[in-house]
Amino acid sequence: MTPVRVMLVDDTPTRSAILEQALRDQGLTVVCRLESAQGLIKNVEVHQPDIIIMDLESPDRDTLENMTVLNQHNPKPVIMFSDEDNSQIVSQAVQAGVSAYIIDGLNPHKVKPIMDVAIARFREYQALKKELKQTRDQLADRKIIDKAKGLLMKTRGLDEEQAYHAMRKMAMDKSKPIAEIAQNILSVMELLSP
């Protein structure tokens, strides 16, 4: 049995590398990885994939959609699961930010496991990105708070705990995040400094 040939179109190379590995682990062949749809149609002709997995954030999706109305000599992709009953998996895919196009002839039973892998990897990547952003934000917040604290200690003659306490009280009174209060302090001090 020949392995299913997959083509990936994703402008995030890290994510498509992760997905490629996961698909290979399932015994599939990733025939081509593109970062944009530049030369997409040509690549489809050259690599003859059975399924194309595409990042939903790619504006090039409409270019690929055109192949659904194109003439016979090109492979004819059909957006996944034209079958109405599969709307749940479509919803999951849309949520995860991934879309897929099946080329005529691929057994629909083979599609679901591929989509499951793609959805899982895209989700994982989303979660990783969110986590990274949170960590970055927290780090940035910490820096701002420390800087504002230092400034208060210097200008108001407070010790570290008093400075932090003053900011925290203000944050609670105004029901704003302490990082925002710290940023305001820094902005005001900058304005007032000669």
């Binding site: 790619s58 504006p59 999706r61 409409d62 270019t63 959609e65 659904t68 003439n71 957006i79 034209s82």
Partner: protein, 371 residues
Amino acid sequence: MIGAKIEKKALKLGYMPLSDCLPLLVAQQQGFFAKQGLNVELQQEVSWANIRDKVIVGHFDGAHMLAPMVLASSVGLGGLKKPLITAFSLGLNGNALTVSNSLHQQLYDTNKDTFEYAHTLKQLIQQRKDHGLPALVFATVYPYSCHNLQLRYWLGSAGIDPDNDIELVILPPSQMVDHLKLQHIDGFLAGAPWNSVAILQGIGHCLLTGADIWQNSPEKVLAVTQEWAEENPNTHHALIRALYEACHWLENNAAKALPLLEQYLSLSSPLIDQECLVPAITGEYVFSNSEQERKVPGTLIFNRLMANFPWLSHAQWIADQMKRWGWLPKNIDCDELIIQCYRPDIYRAALNHIRLPTSDYQENINNHNNS
């Protein structure tokens, strides 16, 4: 009915960053949604396919959508089959055909005396064939779009076969100008502001506007699923009233909306500035950056001429053209499809306080310049 209980207050609407998404932006900024008791979140999208999929799976309550997509999705062309409907047209016109400077020069050299560009293009295509030159490449934005149908209609009017005499490709609007500059394509038919961007940068020359092909043609609509419309009739009415008010406001205040439009559209492309937004909206349409004398009035119509009414005759034209090119399955009853997708009855119910047309069909529908 005005004052009827709204089924769903918090709505998410999708749009593509184009000049004709303005009614949605204005309804939000001017508080017209809020006035109707709606709390709307607008979400910008990168492809029409995303818009369609997100409406179909319910991530969007509704969206700014290409009119032919409503029919295409209802019969399952190019994707999931789910009945979509529209009861509100977001405006008329806005498209234009821009060609590379070199193609424009060739057209001009082929026939200096006439503005019958389609027939001149036919001649040019024959000449290129005789000389063994590659086919000309034209781009539109989506297969099931008014752009594609207009271009094919115009080519067909001169006996050019769009499937064999030229190459037709699909590109995102924001990439048209770059591809024209890089000579990947010889021309494109797209909506505002992309023609003006190409023209003002001196990269292309506008041959004609969509209005030259069909005066006051349908373009984008507010699309929702039939299911959603059935579950949320009062919300749907409120949405239509808010958008109607936005379109009405735009008719008299389009210039005031330019900064808002620039703010939203420039998120998607650094090529967009206020200058390129002016021609299609307020000012006069400029056909080339060297030919100042050829100007026509602004092309987008937001509200006047009953621009927001979902004319069955619009749907009829779209269905006829889709049938003409063999896109609709043979067993489809076009009349049934039209009535299913276009819902003037909902428009009438939502806006019973304004002047409404007596018929659901526009009489001068066949007033096409090239027919």
